[in-house]
């Protein structure tokens, strides 16, 4: 297990008193291009996670069962090729983002903040004009529906009406009832976006993840190349790629690689918290040497 993975489950607890942010006087500007830093969770934010690695995700039994049934070959089906990841992929995926605002040209007020799309995530529009979320039975879209508000110099947004999707690019699922709360914390040229994903079907408790971006003068495009489905070898009428219960061949993949027990990679709420270390004690034997996905060699090597 890498430290990257470890830190995902290193959600500890804050005890005692800490000053709470006081209401601020004014909102701040978030506009610009922000490049991503993949200094943690590098597998998720780079090549993609191991096929069965749900460590740190508070999956329900249903969520775990759905995740284990996932085969990445499903994306070779034409109807799935252009299936975008939900808005939560902003804090889970690898890409940088561009942020810009729409203004009311009469009074100058910000009507909405926009976050650029990537090639596998639709753009996000954060409505700031106080409009309500659609009714529960309104259609769900690839971007979902998002509203936002300022608390001092911190923008918080809330997204509903997303389509079904994935928390991780290995099939850890989100349902269409999932919601996403994003908090934008800007410190000069550094932007930390905290995401809290809730899902009544597949998560036992909120899944919290943060993502770091750095202001960049290299422009990031607001949209990416449109996805056009094409034949990728999956014939119409063929079987839908999946693994039947108990048949996922990758369950032992990283347990062998990192010497961690299988129950750890299957996730669940307890794997989010530091106490889980006690459960690993005696079961974990540190591999002598890293043999796969060990990190890029520095320049000159």
């Amino acid at each position: 297990m890498t430290t990257t993975k470890l830190n995902k489950i290193a959600v500890g607890a804050l005890l005692a008193v800490f000053a709470v942010r006081i209401p601020a006087f004014a909102e701040i500007d978030l506009s610009g291009s922000w490049s991503a830093r993949a200094h943690e969770d590098a597998m998720d934010r780079g090549p993609g996670p191991y096929p069965v690695d749900y460590l740190g995700i508070p999956l329900t039994e249903a969520g775990r069962a759905k995740a284990l049934s996932y085969s990445a070959s499903i994306f070779s089906m034409m109807e799935h090729e252009c299936m975008y990841y939900p808005a939560s992929y902003l804090v889970l995926g690898p890409q940088g983002i561009k942020i810009w605002s729409d203004s009311d040209m009469i009074n100058g007020k910000t009507v909405a903040w926009n976050i650029s799309a990537s090639n596998d995530r639709a753009p996000i529009k954060i409505w700031m004009d106080g409009r309500p979320h659609p009714s529960k039975i309104a259609p769900h879209g690839v971007s979902g529906f998002t509203t936002g508000s300022w608390q001092g110099d911190v923008l918080t947004s809330y997204t509903t009406h997303m389509k079904v999707g994935y928390l991780r690019r290995n099939g850890a699922p989100t349902s269409d009832e999932a919601t996403l709360t994003l908090t934008f914390l800007r410190h000069g040229d550094l932007l930390t976006v905290a995401g809290v994903i809730e899902d009544p079907y597949y998560l036992t408790e909120p899944f919290v993840v943060t993502r770091n971006f750095v202001s960049d003068t290299v422009p990031i495009r607001p949209v990416d190349t449109p996805c056009v489905p094409g034949f990728e070898g999956h014939k119409e009428g063929g079987a839908i790629p999946h693994y039947s219960p108990g048949k996922n061949p990758f369950v032992d993949d990283i347990t062998k690689l990192y010497n961690i027990p299988v129950e750890a990679v299957l996730g669940g709420p307890e794997t989010m918290y530091p106490d889980y270390r006690k459960k690993l004690e005696g079961k974990y034997v540190r591999p002598e040497k890293c043999v796969r996905n060990c990190g890029a060699a520095p320049p000159g090597q």
């Binding site: 489950i9 005692a16 943690e40 908090t183 809730e198 591999p287 990190g295």
Partner: protein
């Protein structure tokens, strides 16, 4: 959660020099030399799985105790001057509240007037340590900048988000940026101070 294998520096933007250090990591030697806290220095401590206990030590000093490695960090406000002496694992930390923006036409607050908001900590004078417990190093001249923000979940839970930027050209090609989350507890349940360890 656990100490990774030797040579696992995935996601850390290390230099050639750092790779040499990481590849020569020997936890048994570190233990024997009394360096088992090398992975618990300020630049790495907030990334370790564990709990924090945050209190005011006095009017100008915020104290952060960690159960991982039983370490204490002190964040000094005001015009505190670092004492002379050898560098330490937790270094010297200077704290300041980052004030909310003041609207146009309003006078800026006087220094020291701001008593809350989000917190910026700058730490220097650290003893050289490990960014990752498997020997990925940071140097004694590394500088640590941290931002502490409190956010709220919709269910009422309070989260502390700590964004950490470690700069040190000897071992890092670029600033190493990570962020960690802590959920506020109602009490001290689970608080379990443990000693430093190079191997676990």
């Amino acid at each position: 959660m656990v100490t990774p294998a030797k040579g696992d520096y995935l996601s850390v933007p290390i230099t050639v020099e750092a790779k040499k250090v990481a590849d020569s990591w020997d936890p048994a030697k570190e233990e024997a030399a009394g360096n088992q806290c090398k992975g618990y220095g300020a630049a790495a401590l907030m990334r370790l799985p564990g709990r924090l206990h945050i209190t005011w030590q006095d009017d100008q000093t915020l104290r952060v105790d960690t159960d991982a490695g039983t370490q204490t960090r002190l964040f000094h406000f005001g015009d505190w001057k670092a004492p002379a002496g050898e560098p330490t694992w937790q270094g010297d930390s200077v704290a300041q509240w980052e004030s909310p923006r003041v609207p146009r036409g309003m006078p800026p607050p006087e220094p020291g007037q701001i008593k809350s908001g989000d917190l910026k900590i700058t730490t220097t004078h650290m003893r050289a340590g490990f960014l990752r417990k498997n020997g990925v190093p940071y140097s004694a001249d590394a500088v640590l900048n941290e931002y502490y923000d409190i956010i709220h979940e919709r269910n009422g839970d309070q989260l502390l988000v700590v964004t950490t930027v470690v700069t040190g050209p000897m071992y890092l090609q670029q600033p190493f940026i990570t962020s960690s989350q802590f959920k506020k507890q109602a009490d001290a349940t689970g608080w379990a101070p443990t000693p430093c360890s190079s191997t676990w």
